[in-house]
Amino acid sequence: MREAILDKGANMGENKGVLFLAEGRDGGLAKITYELTTAAHEIAGQLGGEVNAALFGTGLTRAVAELARLGVARVYVVDDPLFAYYHPEAYLAVATRLVRDICPSVVLMGHTDTGRELAPRLAFALDTGLCPNCVGIEVDAASDALRLTRPVFGGKADGLYSLSEDEPWIVTIAQKVFEPAVAHEGQAAEVVAFAHRVDAGSFRISVTERVEDSSEGIRLEDATVIVSGGRGIGSAEGFAELKELAAALGGCVGASRAPVDNGWVPANLQVGLTGTVVSPNVYLAVGISGAAQHIAGCSSSNTIIAINRDPEAPIFRRAHYGAVADWREVVPALTQKCRAMFG
């Protein structure tokens, strides 16, 4: 990391504008990439300058072609097996070099597993400011400074921030905040293969094993229906009941933090600020009180339906439909009804 600081960019350009770090997934682009594109255009529209994208990974042909149709000026690509998985030293080295080369005013990343790891490293390597997990970005017309809004106190309040003068300003953007951009056949960005010059031999962190959980079914962020349980579910057996309901609805099971901490469900089912941010068509919150940090992960769902015994539970202030009831009595009846209806 210290090496990166000493590695001054050789050809400092005058490009400015906005650079965003695209993310690939399953050979194509991850959803956040389309949202970043929209955010980048909105900012560049006010600050001036080009919108450029960067994409690191391997086997990127289809993803790059898609990215090039999103209305960006240039796509900087590092397509190399060394970048198949996120490695902090590899990604930091190439991101630092790229930013020094093209000198954007703003660097955008998604507040994803990659973005929230890489953005602070990049900010400290470049010694500039970072605002993470932004849900709002405005450009102050008088000063051209960014005014950034992000949830704080576990989502209980928002904070409005500005960054110090030194560019580039680094911003990670919360998922599902910006409308996804649409690809157009007529648009063709210039694709630049970026020479990364990263030497894996210099890494101080080595990844010796990578284990994927064999959790079956749909990923939380892709689900159109999520049946989520909280502390009120009380046990792993309780979650088995929710799983049956989710199956009847063609959806999957999620959880607030308490069931994860109690070991009733695996950690990757956690919805919230520190888990996955979801926006399904229907979010059924069962036995979830509605702590702000959980709400921050599901509030953009189209319809939230809450079942809770406590009429004062905060979840009822965020849900579109609610029922004050014991889930143990409602869920079996609901599962039966849904099997008949949607099965």
């Binding site: 490293r121 400011g129 609805l249 229907v282 079942i307 029922a323 009595e329 849904c338 949607f342």
Partner: protein, 261 residues
């Protein structure tokens, strides 16, 4: 002996309900209801637990560092009661409201002054600001590798072995010390200290250092400026479905029918 530093932050209790908080007139502070004691940020408690697990396994000296202004010493002494060997408080008016960069500068300067540690542990993010930057900042300033989101930390003869959580699994990462590791809640909750240890800890006088002791110049440290906190208007009108469990199930199904195609 293996040396471990754990950086902990004192925060307003994140479990207290928001309706009881007020935002101060300057917009820059959240005022808790009277009698709400501050707590250790939860992920920092996980970081301390990770350190104590290493101490249990291979033996180590655990030093806790906490930075702030007007720190509540009884709250921080909980770390000693739980098993830390030493508590160093970094207190100065200048340390109030520092951003991630300033905080990382102070903690890195402290670690340097103490001669460095084999492992520096931090929580993955603070319970109040949720920024998740300070750990990586300390590592960058010390020039040591940083591994984030640990669910398990072990020490072998030559390296620190970390299981770090991935969205759909985990990876095993190794680095030779010195290394910084940020802890996630999967590491486990901080152990409950025995009463005897709590009483003994309250008698300990922690070392207290200010900006001058550390020789750290914070004049140009700010990278992110807080303009104000505010509570966004987000409440929506909830339509209640009443009746017997069967009637509720029927009502919810009616809603689902229009929402699921």
């Amino acid at each position: 002996m293996l040396t471990i530093a754990v950086c902990v932050k004192q925060v307003t209790d994140p479990e207290a309900p928001l309706s009881l908080f007020a935002i101060a007139a300057d917009g820059r502070h959240l005022v808790p209801p009277p009698g709400t004691p501050p707590v250790l940020s939860t992920f920092d408690e996980n970081a301390l637990e990770a350190a104590l697990k290493i101490k249990d396994a291979v033996g180590s000296r655990v030093t806790v560092l906490s930075m702030g202004n007007k720190l509540a010493k009884p709250v921080l002494k909980k770390t000693l009661a739980a098993g830390a060997d030493e508590l160093i408080l970094l207190e100065d008016e200048q340390f109030e409201d520092l951003d991630s960069n300033g905080t990382a500068m102070v903690l890195a300067a402290t670690i340097d002054k103490l001669g460095g540690f084999d492992i520096v542990l931090c929580g993955r993010q603070a319970a109040d600001t949720d920024a998740g930057q300070v750990g990586m900042g300390i590592a960058a300033k010390l020039g040591i590798p940083a591994v984030t989101l640990a669910r398990k930390v072990e020490v072998t003869d030559t390296s620190v072995r970390v299981e770090r959580i991935l969205p759909y699994g985990h990876e095993v990462v190794e680095a030779a010390p010195p290394v910084l590791v940020t802890a996630s809640n999967e590491i486990g909750e901080l152990r409950f200290p025995p009463v005897k240890a709590v009483i003994a800890a309250q008698k300990v006088q922690p070392t207290v250092w200010g900006a001058a002791d550390l020789g750290v110049d914070l004049a140009r440290s700010t990278r992110a400026n807080l303009v104000k906190f505010f509570v966004p208007a987000r409440d929506i009108l909830c339509e209640m479905i009443g009746g017997s469990p069967q009637e509720i199930a029927n009502g919810i199904t009616e809603v689902l029918k229009t929402r699921i195609v």
